[in-house]
């Protein structure tokens, strides 16, 4: 049995060598984000009276509760400072460690590198164990670093550790889950998608549960992201809740190991069926669609479900406090001027951010196809560089619009079912489309990198993260306007609020067009990189 783990140590070192920069930056990013938020809130709400008022506004605003969860103790400065980062931060931690685990397990296997290593003195479970060790270790470091940063910002020690460990254990739980999904599918992409769908479902479950009942109901308790909230850092510090993610890991890790021990290298639970002996594909656009359709359809289905869910709770979202302070606070939290539609506008804003990730992922296929040597094969045929790049770009750009349209429509349908008012359906679908240009800017930036500096393409995810953080937390941190303006999401109209300005759409669209155009110039001139 010990043989199954032989070589784990060497693989841990290899993984750390490959990820040292990435993990360090992420950990510093999380710790910094937490500390900044805490310090900013302490400055904004120095006395208990102002904090209680702010927290009560949050708890009474269904939109905020659905998206971030409630403030569990209105008198606690920690609970107020971090309510936006609790579930949201846990979800990002989960995504990060899903990526880490898949990257060192199934992705290595698919690339054939594990076959090379496996010929050495390497146990069958070594890669999985090493990936889990790295993910668990990094989760804990992330949690402790964040706790340290919160303590430095002046928050209580116990609560800070409860918060940091809450993030850490969310990371551990989802890393373990990714260990299982990595065994189920033969492709890394599919394994990663399965785990990410679980993250999205966990987020949605707690949203519904939190809106239904102030402290969360049974749906919140079904969600590993809900557990992070239920630790209630700075509001009771319920340490025992951390047993739940521990239990999840204790179930998932052995399951993953049993699955891995029983299967062949390279195989999944589902075996490949034979394909057609003659192909119908006759163009690069047909090929691009074939490669991308599953991901696009999954996103559309996900947005439909997410939108419908949030739309259907929009009627239970009542009790906007109609006071000047409430309006001011909502604005600081990134809400809109028109409180009536704040909930729907906030939902669409979240969709606008998520869909940008789809646009980046879909356009990144260009980079992936080039790195995998597939572009080399295609460009040796009578296909121009422009046509090949366009085949994937069109799917990314149109996919962004399509997914948003579906999401907006679903929000409208959900609201219709809940309120009986069908009038919003069309308006919401159009409002969702107003988020398209901001996402296109990031797609365009990716293509610019691809055209000129293909090795730097992964940097786009860092840019995306910064744009999200600036958009979400900039107002809270009192960031200068020029910093805020760097995020494309800030310029998206706050529809469906009636007085939302559409002016931002023009520069966003122009920027996207210019970035794409410059990308093409670079792509037509540069050398093809090869595997």
């Amino acid at each position: 049995m010990a043989d199954s783990f032989a070589g784990t140590g060497a693989l841990v070192r290899l993984a750390l060598r490959r990820d040292r920069l990435l993990l360090t930056l992420w950990i510093l990013g999380f710790a910094g984000m937490a500390g900044f938020s805490a310090a900013a809130t302490v400055g904004l709400y120095p006395d208990e009276g102002s904090r209680v008022q702010a927290a009560e506004i949050v708890n009474a605003t269904g939109a905020l509760v659905a998206l971030y969860g409630p403030v569990y103790d209105p008198t606690s400065v920690g609970a107020l400072s971090l309510f936006k980062l609790t579930a949201f931060g846990a979800a990002i931690t989960a995504v990060l460690f899903v990526f880490v685990v898949i990257r060192h397990t199934r992705a290595e296997e698919e690339a054939g590198r594990l076959e090379l290593l496996g010929a050495g003195r390497l146990g069958r479970l070594a890669a999985l164990s090493a990936a889990l060790i790295v993910a668990f270790g990094a989760s804990l470091v992330l949690g402790v670093a964040s706790a340290g940063s919160l303590i430095a910002a002046g928050l209580p020690v116990a609560g800070s550790f409860a918060f940091g460990l809450g993030w850490a254990f969310t990371g551990i739980a989802f890393a373990s889950l990714a260990g299982v999904t990595a065994q189920v599918t033969t492709g890394a992409r599919a394994g990663r998608s399965l785990a990410l769908i679980a993250v999205a479902v966990a987020y949605a479950l707690r949203a519904v549960g939190d809106v239904a009942s102030g402290g969360g109901n049974w749906l919140s308790w079904l969600s590993p992201i809900g557990w992070m909230q239920q630790v209630r850092a700075y509001a009771g510090d319920r340490w025992w809740v951390l047993l739940l993610p521990t239990a999840m890991a204790a179930v998932c890790v052995p399951v993953a190991m049993v699955l891995r021990s029983r299967r062949d290298l390279g195989a999944g639970l589902l075996t490949d069926r034979a394909g057609p002996s003659q192909g119908k594909l006759s163009s690069v656009s047909g090929l691009a669609w074939r490669l991308q359709r599953t991901v696009l359809i999954s996103w559309a289905v996900g947005f439909a479900a997410f939108g419908f869910l949030l739309g259907s709770i929009s009627d239970s979202v009542t009790g906007f406090l109609d006071s000047p302070q409430a309006a001011e606070y909502l604005q600081k939290l990134g809400g809109t001027d028109a409180l009536a539609d704040a909930f729907l506008a906030a939902e669409l804003a979240i969709m606008g951010v998520l869909v940008a990730a789809y646009g980046i992922e879909a356009a990144s296929r260009l980079h992936g196809e080039e790195e995998d040597g597939h572009a080399e094969v295609l460009l040796a045929t009578s296909v121009s560089r422009g046509r090949w790049a366009a085949s994937h770009l069109v799917i990314a750009l149109m996919g962004v619009a399509g997914v948003l349209f579906v999401g907006g429509l679903a929000v409208g349908l959900g609201a219709w079912v809940a309120t009986g008012d069908a009038g919003q359906v069309g308006a919401l679908a159009v409002a969702a489309l107003s988020k398209v240009p901001a996402a296109w800017v990031l797609t365009g930036l990716l293509f610019l990198l691809f055209g000129w500096l293909p090795r730097a393409v992964p940097v786009i995810w860092g840019v995306f993260a910064v744009a999200v953080v600036v958009g979400e937390f900039g107002p809270l941190w009192d960031a200068p306007q020029w910093v805020m303006n760097l995020s494309p999401f800030v310029h998206s109209p706050g529809l469906p609020a009636p007085n939302a300005s559409l002016v931002g759409l023009v520069p966003l669209t122009l920027t996207a067009v210019v970035l794409l155009g410059l990308g093409f110039v670079g792509w037509r001139r540069r050398d093809l990189t090869t595997p």
């Binding site: 033969t186 394909g275 090929l287 080399e376 460009l379 050398d527 595997p531």
Partner: protein, 297 residues
């Protein structure tokens, strides 16, 4: 006949690394031209430059009379390429890949497709994910051979094939040449070059060291001469074109350039030669001389 491929003084740099350092290469219409060199000599870079996938830094080149970079799309209707490392889409079947590549090249002949699928014993219904290296190479070969194109660019096309498939590949090359097609084939397998090619270019460190028919190349190399003589001649080592003279009793052996042969023979005759043997250089010796030599090759 016009050169199908004409490369003159091409330089390609990757940062500070010089991949092609003034490369010359001429491939005539209708010939199978082997492009030989050790690993990292620049064979694959040359093929990628010819495909318009890499931009050259200096020099001049034409492919079928046109510019490989600017006219890439038009040119690729008339050629098929088999990469050294064939990477396919894991979720597509071999048959789908063959048909896709064929159509992107402007169509392929279903009868030829079927013939080559059978010849290489390829199962086209399998997903590319499950193919071995050799089978992926077969997919690319079938896609290339089934297209009706006048030029094939093949990068170590047999490196994953078993001996039986290798023989079938050679048969395909002969047939293709019969129909007037031109082939540029990179390889480091000498027997393959010897069996298939009309002409050979040897490349090292991004530079063509020799180019010509196999007979010409052999002629360029030195012949080993061993003689038993009555009296040892003094001036043997000073003769032009004679190298590596060693004396062992009455026996002398040396290497001689083709030009130095007459003078050597007359000196040996004067020395009362009793026994004489000469050995033509093997192709291996020709190559090893270029692969291992210093800057002067």
């Amino acid at each position: 006949m016009a050169a199908v491929i004409d490369v003159q003084g091409v330089v390609k740099r990757f940062g500070s690394t010089i991949a092609l350092d003034g490369l010359d290469l001429q491939v005539e219409a209708g010939e199978v031209h082997a492009f030989l060199g050790p690993n990292g000599a620049g064979k694959t870079t040359t093929l990628r430059v010819l495909l318009g996938q890499l931009r050259i830094d200096a020099g001049h080149m034409t492919l079928l009379g046109r510019d490989p970079w600017a006219d890439a799309v038009e040119l690729h209707k008339d050629l098929a390429y088999v990469p050294g490392e064939v990477n396919l889409w894991p979720q597509l079947s071999g048959g789908e890949v063959i048909d896709l590549l064929g159509r992107l090249r402007g169509g392929l002949d279903p009868k030829r497709r079927q013939r080559y699928v059978d010849l290489f014993e390829l199962d086209p219904t399998k997903k590319a994910r499950t193919y071995s290296k050799g089978n992926r190479q077969k997919v690319a070969l079938v896609a290339a051979l089934a297209s009706d194109v006048p030029l094939l660019l093949l990068d170590e096309p047999t490196s994953g094939l078993d001996p039986l498939m290798d023989a079938r590949f050679r048969q395909c090359m002969h047939e293709y040449r019969e129909t007037g097609g031109t082939v540029l084939l990179s390889s480091h397998i000498l027997s393959e070059a010897e069996a298939l090619s009309d002409r050979v270019t040897i490349i090292r460190s991004g530079r063509a060291m020799e180019s010509g028919s196999l007979a010409q190349l052999r002629h360029l190399a030195r012949t080993k001469v061993v003689a038993t003589v009555e009296r040892m001649p003094d001036a043997l080592a000073e003769l032009p074109g004679v190298h590596e003279v060693t004396v062992d009793g009455q026996q002398v052996s040396c290497q001689v350039d083709p030009a130095g042969m007459p003078a050597l023979l007359s000196v040996l005759a004067d020395a009362g030669v009793q026994a004489l043997s000469s050995q033509q250089p093997t192709l291996e010796e020709v190559f090893l001389r270029h692969y291992q030599g210093g800057e002067d090759g």
